[in-house]
Symmetry: C2
Subunit: 396 residues, 2 copies
């Protein structure tokens, strides 16, 4: 049943070298690394230098290679590689959430056309098999929502803040020193990484392709001690949550934002750089999956699981694309938000339907109230320049 896998790897950073190490320790699988394409072949690496190349075509044009593991950072370059490799009839394993979030619809068509398999479990929540479970197990129409902590870096920062009274800037610096956050942390703390993963959960959970620009996402970079104190006083932690959920019957919303999390929610228990996902459905209620969301070995082991699956001719079936005909993306959804602001003029941007709490003070001002997400997304660009912080209240 199992077939011989000849692997070409693009990228030998954290995930690529993690994969090589995991592969070396997985004696059950008949797989070997044939070639590794890197930018700079001179760099010191724990790898036989004969395997190295800087020319992508050495992998793409090698008929012996039947699996391409695409593990580079640059989303546009990754897109070119994956597209070409599919056209060459090679199976793909990718961990590139940004590339997939923008191009997955086209790439699915391509894999069908060329009768190969495109797998990307490692692209969402590292070692947690969330895509595979949405695809294979939560594969009927009972599913109502998938939500959780999908980004380890921002969660590490929020954990330091809420469990150890750390300051945002100090926590960010520490996350960077430990390698949990990039030197430019925008993708993690701005909610973009969470957004890209959420797009993929929408594809496999509800058969819906949503362009990242259509989704409201905001991050934690403006979090202040005022926000932290207020959340703690009210008995909450703040966590950066991605949620895809059925709303209004046959519509689906995607949302990435800081959320006030109660002690009885699963997300409250997810600390440090871990990820945790809650799957909510009719009849089975809440299920929760927890594990390491990032890092060389957890992500490497997720890539390995995809590679093993290829040995058994596994493909995502995209069952939800067939199940659901009429599901539509919507931002027409009321949310209860906390808005902390400095400049009172900024308030005119927000079209609150109802306000339940409002404070104006010397140190800070805030409003808690309800507004429609479709109003919020209109002012997304303006929000980026303001000294405001947003978080929402709601169900897990």
């Amino acid at each position: 049943m199992s077939k011989k896998l000849k692997i070409g790897i693009f990228g030998y950073g954290v995930v690529g070298s993690g994969l090589a190490h995991v592969l070396k320790n997985s004696k059950g699988l008949d797989a070997s690394i044939v070639k590794v394409c890197v930018k700079n072949a001179e760099k010191e690496r724990d790898l036989d230098s004969k395997l190295l190349t800087t020319n992508p075509d050495d992998i793409l044009n090698d008929p012996e290679i039947n699996v391409v593991a695409e593990l580079i950072d640059d989303a546009e370059a990754a897109y070119g590689i994956v597209k070409k490799a599919l056209q060459k009839g090679k199976h793909i394993v990718s961990a590139n959430k940004k590339m997939l979030a923008y191009h997955v619809e086209e790439l699915i068509q391509l894999q069908w056309q060329h009768n190969v398999s495109l797998l990307y479990e490692a692209s969402a929540c590292g070692s947690i098999p969330i895509i595979r479970n949405l695809e294979e197990y939560y594969d009927n129409d009972l599913l109502q929502s998938v939500s959780g902590i999908l980004n380890g870096s921002s969660n590490y920062i929020l954990t330091k803040i809420f469990n150890e009274n750390s300051d945002y800037q100090i926590a960010l610096k520490e996350a960077q020193d430990l390698g949990y956050a990039e030197s430019d942390p925008t993708s993690d703390v701005g909610g973009f990484d969470t957004l890209y993963k959420l797009i993929l959960l929408g594809v496999h959970g509800f058969g819906l392709f949503v362009h990242p620009d259509e989704v409201f996402n905001c991050g934690i970079s403006n979090l202040s001690t005022h926000d932290i104190q207020l959340a703690s006083q009210k008995g909450y932690k703040i966590r950066l949550i991605g949620k895809v959920s059925k709303v209004n019957g046959n519509q689906v919303n995607l949302l990435v934002a800081p959320k006030f999390v109660k002690p009885n929610e699963h997300a409250y228990t997810v600390d440090s750089h871990y990820n945790g996902v809650v799957i909510q459905g009719n009849f089975y209620d809440n299920q929760f999956m927890y594990g390491k969301g990032a890092g060389a070995h957890p992500t490497g082991s997720a890539v390995l699981s995809d590679i093993t699956a290829l040995a058994y001719d596994y493909k995502y079936e995209y069952k939800k694309l067939k199940y659901y005909g009429g599901l539509q993306f919507t931002n027409n959804m009321d949310v209860e938000i906390y808005l902390r602001y400095s400049d009172k003029k900024d308030l005119s941007l927000f079209n609150f339907k109802e306000i339940s709490e409002s404070l104006t003070g010397k140190e800070f001002n805030y409003i808690i109230g309800t507004l429609n997400l479709s109003e919020l997304i209109k002012i997304r660009e303006q929000l980026l320049e303001k000294d405001i912080f947003l978080a929402y209240f709601g169900e897990e």
Copy 2:
């Protein structure tokens, strides 16, 4: 891709009626119930009476029916039904953990022989897709152990005891009144239900068929307030845990027993009738899956997921049977146990290698020490008659 499913159901109790209800609300699936075989056709049911029969052959000999959902309690009767249905070329979905624990090896051969599929996700941990994940995702040789709370009834009782200071007998009565425990609770509180599920996790986790009689299992029915107080004083809860783990390099142990659980373990957070499973492996470390372990709708939705999978020709591959050649079951494993006893003569039964704590008192006596599981299993029958309580210390 998806095919028409014509379902014959055996048993219309909690799970059977749950399935019918879930099916009715799953419009995405092309499946219909053709016949339901029950013991007593006269009983009032929320079902078209034309579907009912008391003759198993009305299902087994009906060529139109391509899927049999076996959802009866009686393990021996279930075995006969499943065997015959496989021989008749029908796909099977079963939730009968006891029947499977004893017969799964033979039934797997039969399904291969008759080129049909035998699925049983609902038989272990209700709505948590643990079998599917071991089979499909943790399908390489990185896996080290699978452990957790696999039985909701006993966990409900232990939760009442540890969180609400309830007494064992009162908690058991309450569990029975709520329908979480049977009038004869032996299977749940004696650890047998956990054992049967664990056997299946051993099959899918490590490709190992172990006869239930080979595994040491003990339950919680002798738990006393002394044990509860001691655990609480030391900062533990006691939980009934099933664990299958690699030991001594290429051996595997299965163990069912009460365990002292620390606050930083996942099992500590699993309360009431919920189940929680920790999957531990090289590189990905700990992963945790949590959800409803029993009940009409969670189990019904698990059965539905199997039925949906049949529509896509899904079969368990039993990959581990091929991966692992040399894994052997063993009880040669040292465990640190807490032994509370009344009669000092009983101590002579136990061959402790090392004793770290020992109390003799007016109210109760206990020893904490290390012994080998192979010694413990020899005296299993004798233990049942004694006023002793056993629990172990160890990693999750």
